[in-house]
Amino acid sequence: MKKVIANREINVNEEGYLVDFKQWDREICECIADECNVIMTEKHWEVVEYLQDKHHKEEPLSIRGIKKSGVINIKEFYKLFPGGPLKVSTKIAGIPKPKSCI
């Protein structure tokens, strides 16, 4: 399905996750973040880059992985992306919602 984000038509799934990562850029990212009540800071960008990197290497994302990431600890992660951190941060990063239960 299509959704207008930052005055552009973007392909998203029914939960609002981007389907085509090529459509992702910083402007789109900030608009999605705003919808999730997140204001992007340098630390947010760092996390987004980490998540995208993992996704492109096809390594599964998990909260345990965040703990070991060296980029951010779990406490901060919950603070930066309230309301379900992996769910929210992956949406902002323009990558699919992780399927893991952990």
Partner: protein, 157 residues
């Protein structure tokens, strides 16, 4: 859109691996969905938060028909240890953390961890016996008072 569950309260009364992980995965899963979660460890569940015991929990091979081995075999020395080892290996493959690390993750994620006062007294345990992440030792009444909002659910494991 959006779940109506706002808070999950778990009472963990057993210390077999399958029960402990069930509680941990559900409590963590709740936090990951933006739902509050807390765990109240009582009776044998207290083993899961005792520093000296938590990495030595076992899967139950006796009285567990889903193991598909005769109960009498399950009782032989070493069978429980072997089954536990196999299960831990499978869990590691799925990147499931060991009990101690899982407790750290839960605590860092904002899941509150409570010990049951009655059971702590009954087993003659001291605060020193427990992990640092424990938020306190409270009564069941105190725990009920944590159900302080609409959409709170309580689950006994």
């Amino acid at each position: 859109m959006g779940t109506k569950v706002k808070k999950m309260l778990f009472i963990l009364s057993k210390a077999t691996i399958e029960n402990v992980y069930a509680a941990f995965v559900m409590a963590n899963g709740a936090r990951m969905e933006g739902i509050e979660s807390e765990i109240f460890f009582t009776f044998f569940g207290l083993e899961a938060i005792q520093k000296k015991k938590l990495e030595n929990l076992h899967v139950a091979t006796v009285g567990n028909p889903a193991m598909h081995i005769p109960t009498m075999l399950g009782g032989l020395p070493g069978v429980e240890a072997l089954a536990t080892k196999m299960m831990k290996k499978e869990m590691e493959k799925l990147d499931m953390p060991p009990v101690g690390e899982f407790l750290e993750i839960l605590s860092d994620s904002g899941c509150k961890l409570w010990g049951c006062k009655l059971a702590v007294d009954m087993f003659h345990l001291k605060e020193d016996d427990f992990i640092e992440e424990l938020d306190g030792i409270i009564t069941i009444g105190d725990f009920y008072s944590r159900a302080d909002q609409e959409g709170t659910h309580l689950l006994f494991i």
